[in-house]
Amino acid sequence: MTSSLPGFLFAIPFFAAVVIPVVGFTNQKFCRPIALGALVFLSIVSVIGLSEVVSHGPLSHEFGGWAPPIGIEWVVDGLSGLLMVAISVVSLIALVHAGPLVEKELSDRVIPFYSLSLLLIAALGGMVLTGDLFNLFVFLEIGSLASYVLVGVAGGRSLHSAFRYLILGTIGASLYLLGVGYFYAETGTLNMADLAQRLPEVIDSRAVLTGLLFIVLGLAIKMGLFPLHGWLPDAYTYAPNSFTPLLTSVVTKVPLYAFVRIAFWIFGMTTVSTQIPILVVLGWIGAVAAIVGAYLAIWQENFKRMLAYSSVSSMGLFMLGFSLGTATGFAGGLFYVLADTLMKAALFGVAGAAIYQCGAITVTDLVRLQRNMPWVSAALLISALSMVGIPPTAGFFGKWHLVVGALEAEKYFAVAAILVSSMLTALYFFRMFQRVWAEPLPLVEPHVLETPFPIRMSLGVLTFGIMALGLGSDLVMGLIFESALPNGF
């Protein structure tokens, strides 16, 4: 069905990103209401888009009146609709949370913060919605440039990690572009749907194989897949606290989405698991990443760095889920991506709130949360339990479907990897619980108050979301099975 809705999903945050510097130039106070208003509007439109897709099938929009495959086409289908809802809702909550933090740590950079955040969200939306490989590259770079700047905007150590992120991210994007060039040279098209029809004829060609390898390598750098996660721990640790919830929850998920789109929709399930068995390799890499990431997290003293390695571990779990080759495994991987978006936003939100309110940077410092901070402590408890996989949180159901999918596929190494990584995750989170609640508060600690209302409310909403996604997991899994599965399952 043709509709201009995909265009709107990009235009709303993009125009807000342009309007903010113009309006904010006269009065900085207008930046935040414009940004939040645009994101509320975006969330509503993306929910409408998803419900349209569920009831009437995919929506597509041709730009400039040129029909695909010649023109550029944007598509909202089950997968992109679901991702778009997750991106818009979580970024809205993340920017609500950012309010007091921006005033404290970036008080002279309020305009660039909001403007670039919305540009980043617009670019992520463009990546999710586009049906064209080159268009995807352009949005990948727009989004990456916005996030390099946002990582380094606070200056100090973050600048150096932003520079490293930029260097590695540019290598990733260049490899992706090179892969697209190989596909174009072999098939003469860039449109995803058209490419999917033309590829089976030339699937044996070495250019297609090399192109796929370049694309997967490039996207793996962007998503921080072990062992290409070099930029990730520093960027997550030193990025301003106002930006980390947005950075950690959505920025790495969208290159993962691009990989899933290319592997399952363009190449197809049977091709990537038998003819070009890239899923087998990625399955092993995912298993190793899930375990090594969790193992490295155990040794981190810095709370944000611990969570960063936990993200490396989660990325391994997603990869493992998508590589299983069963419908349950794929749907479980996707569900866990959605759950992790909420959990990472909540955990980094807690980390930011702890630094903002009582200067707690290391895990040991978190003992200060003991007093007077029920909202932050509850958010920390629920999201950490969800990371470990305790029912009835969303993390439990994500891991449950992953294990069921692995058993269906009879891949026992995957089951073992999921269980071992969950146990290691339990180890570092329970160690943290012990520090926070079992040890007595040192008497000399300064008196701290509960966090301001925007932080409290957004942590509450995220915690509620984690529980609700867990309790409503049947509904979401039904939606994924109905409209977000690729052909071939």
Partner: protein, 122 residues
């Protein structure tokens, strides 16, 4: 191997430039030299795309008169050119952002050598 050198020398040139770019980026500790390597790598990909579009005796893809349509083999493929126009813009903006970061790093640490910056951070 000799075949490639004889009939596809542009691919060899592309590979050399690309690897040289990555080498410069990885080996040098100077931040500006890293950026030179990065730009060389991006440029090599642009050259790769442009060589895909070339045809023997092909002219520029401009319609002289609407009455006589040119056969496709008479003009260069315009699509890679247009794609690379966009990629050049992306490359330039990446370079701009990265140079701004280098300036900010220099103001803060008074050096452009990565090892010295790392030393000063401790």
């Amino acid at each position: 191997m000799a075949d490639i050198l004889l009939y596809r020398p542009h691919f060899v040139a592309f590979i050399i430039l690309f690897l040289l770019g990555i080498y410069i980026m990885v080996v040098n500790l100077n931040l500006v030299k890293k950026l030179i390597g990065m730009y060389l790598m991006q440029t090599s990909i642009i050259l790769f795309f442009i060589t895909l579009a070339v045809k023997r005796d092909g002219t520029i893809p401009i319609l002289v008169s609407s009455a006589t349509a040119l056969p496709p083999e008479a003009y260069a493929n315009p699509l890679p050119h247009v794609l690379m126009l966009t990629a050049i813009v992306v490359g330039v903006s990446t370079l701009g952002v990265s140079l701004a970061m280098v300036i900010a790093l220099y103001r803060q640490y008074n050096t452009l050598e990565e090892d010295e910056i790392l030393g000063k951070m401790k």
